[in-house]
């Protein structure tokens, strides 16, 4: 059997195993579904009245940011999953089997992508309830969801690396989540990057979360309330769709190889 088909078969076996885990233990889905709902409601109704002059418009603006944030958090679930497998000795067993080296990671990130897709569905419904609409074309909407899933997948590989570096679930609990907050808040997910002080503004402009949030707002045709207009003339702000795709691919190009390299050497305990 060729290396590719063997790798695909091994990956699909591991994906199946991970999805069976989700099916048998549905509380694993809580984080992926309840958290985004919570964020939609919190931002929409707690901050909604204070940010900008039009709460309805802010809620619609908000959805792109919450989409981007939620798929970014997918990386934390991958981190936890890898750390748990490592801690239980499952990774040792996999590594002692004659299976392809990337299959455990590919199977994990693929399964987490499926969970992430479910989260997007739940969130979209929740968004529709608070007044968000898809106002763009069908193809633009498809592209928006594709970008979100690509970003989710890319972040999942970062999470896989972090999970193996953490070594156990306890460390992974913090290591997986802590960097999510600056990553998702130093962006245009909830506010305008323009209001941030100099260096932070540069980071926010180039942050893939900003690109993804802006890209899906554009593609879904969600208007920005006056105060949150993207007046930035930075290159990424002008090319959010392109930059979101390029940055996702760059994340994958960096983290997929180092995650696989880490997997080859990783030791439980």
């Amino acid at each position: 059997m060729s290396v590719i088909t063997a790798g695909a078969r091994d990956s699909s076996v591991v994906t199946w195993r991970n999805l069976m885990n989700v099916r048998r233990q549905p509380d694993l889905l809580l984080g992926a579904t309840v958290q985004p709902i919570m964020f939609v409601l919190l931002f929409a109704f707690v901050f909604g009245g204070s940010i900008g002059d039009n709460p309805d418009a802010y809620r619609e603006f908000l959805m792109g940011g919450i989409f981007a944030q939620t798929v970014a958090f997918n990386s934390a679930y991958t981190t936890l999953g890898m750390a748990a497998d490592l801690e239980k000795g499952v990774i040792d067993r996999f590594r002692s089997l004659p299976m392809s080296r990337g299959a455990v990671l590919f199977g994990r990130t693929t399964a987490d992508l499926a969970v992430s897709a479910l989260g997007l569905l739940v969130m979209s419904i929740c968004g529709l309830l608070v007044g968000w609409r898809i106002r763009g074309s069908f193809l633009d909407a498809v592209l928006a969801y594709a970008i979100l899933l690509l970003f989710s997948f890319a972040m999942s590989w970062v999470g896989a690396f972090v999970g193996m570096a953490s070594g156990n679930v306890q460390v992974a609990q913090s290591a997986g989540f802590i960097w999510m907050f600056p990553l998702t808040f130093v962006s245009s997910a909830f506010v305008s990057a323009n209001a941030m002080p100099g260096p932070l503004k540069v980071i926010a402009n180039w942050n893939p979360v900003t690109a993804v949030a802006d890209a899906v707002r554009d593609l879904f045709g969600n208007p920005r309330p006056g105060i949150l207009q993207a007046t930035s003339d930075s290159w990424p702000a002008q090319h959010s769709v392109l930059w979101s795709i390029v940055s996702c691919l760059a994340i994958l190009a960096i983290f997929a190889p180092i995650a696989v390299a880490k997997y080859r050497k990783v030791a439980s305990k």
């Binding site: 059997m1 063997a6 078969r9 091994d10 076996v13 591991v14 199946w16 195993r17 069976m20 885990n21 048998r24 233990q25 239980k88 000795g89 499952v90 040792d92 067993r93 996999f94 590594r95 002692s96 089997l97 004659p98 299976m99 299959a103 030791a267």
Partner: protein, 335 residues
């Protein structure tokens, strides 16, 4: 070159592995003949698991070389993985998958077809007495059942060499007996097994050859009998009825034995090495009786692996308290 794979299943030379300034392995050699069981015995941190990890390609040694089923672990790890089955220290079963699904998955990952994987999973569940639990998620299994499932996982691809890393650590006595039985069957079927353990009794029961390892070095090797004979002599062991009698019993045994008696005040147990076996025992009983010492238990036995371990390392094996002394005692009496 290593000897041919048909006779020697595992061959390792001068394995060294350091972590910072700690030499986890400091030049370990080992050899396992096909169809035999090698027990790798040593306290926690002795280097057992590091050895296993190197032989199963999970870890690269700093120096030295090793061949498993004729394949070089460094040059051709993929071939080694195809030839081995590993059951680790903790049962690496997926709790949310059923017993059947766990084994089916392993079969698929060895590259077996769907139907072969399924058939093999069924056969192993049967053999490991898990048939009734086959369709239940593994989280409902007892500790012993999980271990059996994990062992079954190591056998899915009918590997040339089976590596069992502390297969009974953390099991209750019932689970341990259960697991021994399964390993015993495996051995009877002619498998080549590398077994690490900190339980001396386990090595004694299951292994053809034993390698004692401490601080990353092999400090003794041979069959259980050879090791015991190496310590030499038999021991008289007496348990007296009252705490006040321990010292007197110690004096009597000291005068009969060759060497200082060991005393366990808590259990009121005194034991000493003797050269004249039964004669010394008769004499000891006569004199203990003369002194009016109440005797709860008395035995003459050959050295146990505990004694071997003590004399080799100067310290008892980690788990001196288990398995229960009582079970061990009756076995000693029989040997």
């Amino acid at each position: 070159m290593p000897p041919s794979a048909s006779q020697v299943a595992v061959h390792a030379e001068a394995l060294v592995k350091t972590y910072g300034s700690t030499r986890a392995l400091d030049g370990v050699d080992l050899e396992i003949r096909s169809g035999t069981v090698l027990g790798l015995l040593g306290p926690n941190g002795a280097g057992k698991t590091t050895t296993v990890r190197i032989l199963t390609t999970l870890l690269k040694p700093d120096s030295g070389r090793a061949f498993v089923a004729g394949h070089d672990v460094l040059a051709d790890p993929a071939a080694v993985r195809r030839s081995i089955g590993l059951s680790g220290q903790y049962a690496a079963v997926d709790e949310n998958l059923t017993g059947y699904e766990n084994l089916y998955m392993v079969g698929r990952l060895y590259g077996m077809s769907r139907s072969d994987s399924g058939a093999r999973a069924r056969a192993l569940l049967d053999r490991f007495r898990l048939k009734d639990a086959a369709e239940r998620p593994a989280k409902t299994y007892s500790g012993g059942m999980r271990r059996r499932l994990d062992l079954a996982g190591a056998l899915v691809a009918e590997p040339t060499v089976v590596v069992l890393d502390e297969p009974t650590t953390g099991l209750d006595p019932r689970g341990r007996l259960d697991t021994w039985e399964v390993i015993g069957e495996l051995v009877a079927d002619g498998a080549t097994v590398l077994l690490t353990t900190q339980y001396l009794e386990e090595a004694d029961q299951l292994a053809d050859n034993i390698l004692v390892i401490d601080h990353g070095k092999v400090i003794a090797g041979g069959t259980p009998d050879q090791l015991k004979n190496g310590v030499g002599g038999e021991r008289i062991e007496v348990v007296v009825g009252e705490a006040g009698e321990v010292e007197k019993a110690r004096q009597i045994l000291f005068s009969l034995g060759s060497g200082e008696p060991t005393v366990d005040d808590h259990q009121r147990r005194v034991s000493v090495k003797v050269d004249t076996g039964p004669k010394a025992l008769v004499e000891a009983l006569r004199r203990l009786d003369q002194e009016g010492i109440s005797i709860l238990d008395v035995a003459l036995h050959r050295p146990t692996l505990d004694d071997v371990f003590l004399s080799l390392t100067g310290h008892a094996a980690e788990e001196a308290v288990e398995p229960e002394p009582k079970g061990r005692k009756s076995k000693k009496g029989a040997s």
